[in-house]
Structure formats: C-alpha cells, structure tokens
C-alpha cells in the first residue's frame, strides 16, 4: 500500500518534465506545472511548515484562491505529513464578520496548528484567532519561494503510514464547517484504484475541471485523482467558469479533454447561457465522459446539454452519472462508460405515497428516474427501511454503504461519527432504490438543500433570519424547491412576523434577503414574509420543513387558479 508522498515521488522520478496541471486564469496565459515544479513548489511549503514547528499529523487550514499557492500548499502539507483542509476564500458578497465567525467555528473544532493565506488577508485571519486557540502560525503565501533543489527524502511526509489521515474535507456553512470528513491515505488510494477502474482511466486521459477544491468532487476527481494517476489536469477557477461557462468547452477543445465532472445544474447552465460566437470551431469529440454528480441527476438536463452541443461533436453516450460522497472519499457508483445511463419511467403517485418505483399505469402521471450506475468494485450498497432491515428491489429506502475507502471519522467529532454508522454500514442520509444492480437516487432523508452542487444546511439560513429585526427566533423555515429550468434546487425562506401589513412584509423580506445572502453567500430565490400562525410546527414545537414546503406549494397553485 502506497502513500501520497510515495506515489508523487514515483511519478516524478519517472517523468519529471511531464505536465501535471494546466492552470487557467482569466486574462492570463495558462500556467503549466510539471511534476518537477509541483514537487519544488510543494516542498517549499513543507519546509516552511517544518520551520514553523508544525508537526506531522497536525491540521493546516488553507485560505487561498484558485492558484498555484493553493496547489503547492496542499501538496506541501501532505509532504510534511500534516493534514491540509481547504476553507473557501472570502467572496465579495459574503460579509467579513460572518466569514470570521465561520473561521472561528472551524478553528474551534478542527484545531489547526497553522493557517496559510495571502498577505492582504493576514489581518482578517489573525482577527479570527482567539487567545488560547490551537493556531501557532499564520503562513503568508507570497513569502514562500519554490525550492531550487529538492531532497524529498528529508520530508516528514514519507514517514506517514497508510492508515494516517491525509486530509480533511468540509461542507460549507456554520454547520458544515464543524463536520470535517477525515480520510486516510489507504482510503484515498482504495478509492482511486476502484474509481479509476470503473472509468478505465489511463494516461491518455485529460481531465478538465472548473470545480472548487474545497468540495469532494473538485478535490478528488478534479485534483487528486489526476495528479496521483499521472493524468494531466486542466484546471480553471469556478469564479471564471460562472462568468464564462464557454471557457470550459474551449479548454476541452484545446487540450482534447476526455473527462469532466459537473453537478446537474451545470448542464442546464451551459445549455442555456453559452453563445454560439463563443464556441465557434469548438470540438468536443474528445470528451469520452461528462459525469453528472453531487446533485440529483436529471435526464432532462442531459437532453438539454446534448441538444445544445451535439453539433460540436458531443456524443450522447458521453453523458454519464455517478453517486458520490466525501464520506466514501468520492465515488460510490458509476454508470457504464460508453453506454447511455438507464432511464426508468415510474408512476409518480406510487413513488410519492407508497415509496415504490412502479411501472407507470396507462395515462397516470409518471416521472423519469436516471440511474447513477452500479457500485464501484470495492463498494457494497444496500437499501434499508426505518428499522434498518433490507428492502426489495424498487422499494425506496435509505441508501447504506460499506467499502474499504470510508472516512476515518468526522474530525474531533466521535459523536457524529458514531451516528453515521449502523452495524458497520454508513447511513448516507440519501433515499433511493435499486433495480438490476443499479442505484437510483431519489432524494434526501436529511433536510440539506443542494443548490448548484453546494450543500446548504437549512438551520444555518433560518438562524440568520432571526438576526433580522422583526423576525422572532423559531419562526422561520428554509427549504429547497426544485427548479426545472435551472436543473437545481432554489432556496426558499418563509418568515413569520407579528404584522399583517403587506408593506411591512415586503420591507422585512428585503432585509432577510440581503442579510442571509451577505452572511451565507447563498442567493435566495423566494423570500416570503407571512403574518402570525402561518408556519406549521410539529407537536414538539419544531418547524416541519416538508409540511411548510407543501403548504407553500398548495398556496402557489391556488394563486395560479384564481
């Protein structure tokens, strides 16, 4: 069994001048990083960590944008034997106060020994550190010079064992930041072996990605898998992609990209927002797979994407699906490359009320379910009911998984780790069913909202609304509402206030929209302020998100009838 430093060293000694990463920037030439440059840049960070007295096994938080410092400091932390964890960088719409609070929350649970950031952000980072905190060193990125000479064997990372933790991965928001998924070298390599097999990954592949590295899909499929498999990676920034999605297609065309991972909404986004003039001459025929992952997969999104780009060499069988989660490093299932994922038409009512995937009856409303493929060779998947018993094929239940690439635990949170397992199976919190050995994911048990591939905890958003004048604690409810055109969920917030005055409702709705967006970096699509006694509560006084969602949908339908 190998470790990250050993694998990197082996790839480097075989072909030091091979390009590991083509790093793309807006308005600047692409930066080519060879394995030699990767090792030099990374070992410079490893040395700084050693000089600062950071011990192997300690956590290093990286607060950097999409650039070579992020790449070098991540790999450098691993080469030093430390545990890197990427925190999203502050964006222009997030308030600095909230960012500081999130960072403090991360520090209090994860207890990092060091933080790496930019000089202009150093003051902000220091402001989040309190007396007695674990952080002993703030490392400023521009003071780290690449090494002229590398002696990898001096690096402490080579003493790490396969069972040691290699990295932490967090979801966003106050809740997510307190739940770092800790993964071992062994789990990462078991995942890369199994997932690589399912993709028939080879050194002829070229992976093109715009995904952020603080998310499992970007970190594993769009970063670690290529650099640890000797597969070139073309990496662009998520901020550039969202403003110019056509650049992804241009990059595929230019570098003959073969593999890309996208969350479902990105298929709709690209299909709707890319102009012909931006993709003149773009050839997508090298794309052997575009893998839909991290949000519920939609057949309609694949169709829209295919129709938009089929004249640019895109093949329908290139559109694939996967079901993945950070707790399993990444992939749990993968559809069969080269053939079109199975799509089943099922009866909508049986799905809703009987929790069954049945063939549609004549004339009754049906819905299309697209398969996420079969479990990877090292993963077992089963569907269980509330009591934990196995259910039959086509019965919807909770998806439970077992593999040799599971998380070591939620870092410093044995309580959460214990809850995530039952009799040796990881309870995913996702609902779905199996048919002919394929997994169909249908929804979530937990209330988490997935907006644009990003996991959002509704309780975080609800808590923010209570900070708005006029809104009382416990009287807001947040949930996701699927938007067909966008191919993703949109966030809805309903807040109850004392006033019945519509003008006052509008004023508070605006205030909620601004406050929540500034403090969560999540744009709200619908904000509804209502008078007393609108929101439904459970008998224990908790807000029932699904009941309130149904009530809102009923009201909208009634409005449309009148």
């Amino acid at each position: 069994m190998t470790t990250f430093p050993e694998r990197l060293k082996a790839l480097h000694s075989r072909s030091p001048e091979r390009v590991a990463i083509y790093l793309k920037f807006s308005g600047r030439d692409d930066l080519l990083i060879t394995y030699e440059q990767l090792l030099r840049g990374a070992s410079a960070y490893a040395r700084v960590l050693a000089r600062e007295g950071i011990q192997p096994g300690e956590v290093v938080v990286l607060i950097l944008q999409h650039d070579e410092d992020l790449i070098f400091s991540f790999v450098g932390a691993v080469l030093h034997g430390a545990i890197p964890s990427i925190m999203p960088f502050l964006t222009e719409k997030l308030s600095p106060e909230r960012y500081r609070a999130d960072l403090s929350a991360l520090i209090s649970v994860t207890k990092p020994a060091a933080i790496v950031t930019y000089p202009q952000f150093e003051t902000e980072v220091r402001a989040a550190i309190k007396d007695g905190d674990s952080v002993r060193s703030v490392i400023v990125a521009d003071r780290v010079e690449p090494q002229a000479r590398i002696n990898v064997d001096e690096l402490a990372g080579f003493t790490r064992r396969p069972e040691d933790i290699i990295l932490l991965q967090h979801s966003s928001g106050t809740t997510g930041l307190q739940k770092g998924v800790a993964l071992s070298h062994r789990s990462v390599f078991n995942q890369l072996d199994a997932y690589g097999t399912s993709l028939s990954l080879s050194e002829d592949d070229v992976i093109v990605s715009w995904l952020p590295l603080y998310h499992d899909m970007g970190l594993i499929a769009g970063f670690l898998m290529p650099i640890l498999s000797g597969v070139p990676l073309v990496l662009m920034s998520p901020f550039d992609w969202v403003r110019a999605p056509y650049k992804l297609l241009q990059a595929v065309s230019k570098y003959h990209g073969t593999l890309t991972w996208l969350p479902n909404f990105a298929y709709n986004f690209c299909a709707q927002k890319i102009r012909d003039r931006h993709i003149e001459g773009v050839d997508l025929s090298s794309w052997r797979s575009v893998i839909n992952c991290s949000e519920p997969v939609r057949w309609e999104s694949h169709q829209a994407f295919y129709e938009r780009f089929k004249n640019h060499g895109l093949r329908l069988e290139a559109l694939q699906t996967s079901y993945a989660m950070a707790e399993n490093v990444f992939g749990v299932t993968q559809s069969q490359l080269g053939s079109i994922p199975a799509v089943e038409e099922i009866d909508r009512e049986a799905f809703m009320s009987e929790r069954l995937a049945k063939d549609p009856f004549d004339g009754r409303p049906s819905m299309k379910m697209m398969s996420s493929g079969r479990p990877l060779e090292n993963v077992k998947v089963k569907i269980i009911d509330e009591d934990g018993s196995d259910v039959s094929e086509r019965v919807i239940g909770e998806i439970a998984i077992q593999s040799d690439c599971m998380l070591t635990g939620y870092y410093n949170r044995p309580d959460l780790t214990e809850k995530a397992f039952r009799n040796g199976w990881h309870l995913t919190g996702d609902y779905g069913y199996m048919n002919n050995g394929e997994v169909f994911v249908s929804g979530r048990k937990k209330d988490m909202i997935i907006v644009g591939g990003k996991n959002v905890y509704p309780q975080d958003l609800e808590a923010l609304t209570y900070e708005v004048a006029g809104v009382h604690s416990g009287r807001s409810v947040a949930f996701g509402l699927f938007d067909e055109a966008q191919g993703t969920e949109e966030v809805v917030i309903i807040s109850e206030v004392d006033s019945e005055n519509p003008n006052e409702h509008q004023r508070i709705a605006d205030a909620i929209r601004q406050h929540v967006t500034k403090n969560s970096a999540i744009a709200l699509r619908y904000v509804k302020v209502v008078g007393p006694k609108w929101i439904l509560k459970t008998s224990s006084g908790k807000t029932a998100r699904s009941a309130n969602k149904e009530k809102l949908l009923r009201e909208i339908m009634e409005d449309q009838r009148t």
């Binding site: 807006s26 308005g27 222009e92 719409k93 901020f239 550039d240 969202v242 403003r243 110019a244 999605p245 986004f269 927002k273 102009r275 644009g452 509008q506 709705a509 605006d510 929209r513 601004q514 967006t517 500034k518 970096a521 744009a523 699509r525 619908y526 904000v527």
Partner: protein, 81 residues
C-alpha cells in the same frame, strides 16, 4: 426614470428576484449587496445583449463595472452605436 432603466428594473425584479411588485431604486446596489448572485449576473448580461444589442464581457461581470441600474444604463448608452 429612463426607458432603459425601466426595462432593466422589470427584468431584475420579475426574472431574477421573482418579486414583480418590488421596487428597485436606480441607485440601489445590486451586486455588492448580494441581491444579484453570479449565476443571475450572467442572465442579466444576456438580457442586456439581447435587448439593447450591447455586449458586456465576462471579465466585466462584477461590481466594479456596474453595481446599480443607473451605472448599467450609462454603460449601455455609452456602448450603443
């Protein structure tokens, strides 16, 4: 209020914010306030291009180029030939 601003305001409140009855002041910050997120910014740029025949490059999609309807309307006027 100019015709351009009226059209922009209608698009922002109906299509982006989905609050057709909301008022948007011409000087109200849209991007720096978080009212319009990056996904919707793209929609606004496409609307401007289709409606007024004026291009906004992707590198310009930030609060530095325009942050309210007055500034966006001036930018549109300046680029109209």
């Amino acid at each position: 209020m100019s015709d351009v601003i009226t059209q922009l305001a209608a698009f922002v409140k109906t299509t982006i914010l989905k609050q057709p009855n909301r008022a948007i002041e011409p000087g109200e910050p849209l991007i720096s306030s978080g009212l319009i997120d990056s996904f919707s910014l793209m929609d606004l740029a496409l609307f401007v291009e289709d409606t007024f025949g004026v291009r906004i490059e992707d590198t310009e999609l930030n609060a530095g180029t325009f942050d309210n309807l007055n500034q966006l309307a001036s930018l549109i006027e300046a680029r109209k030939v």
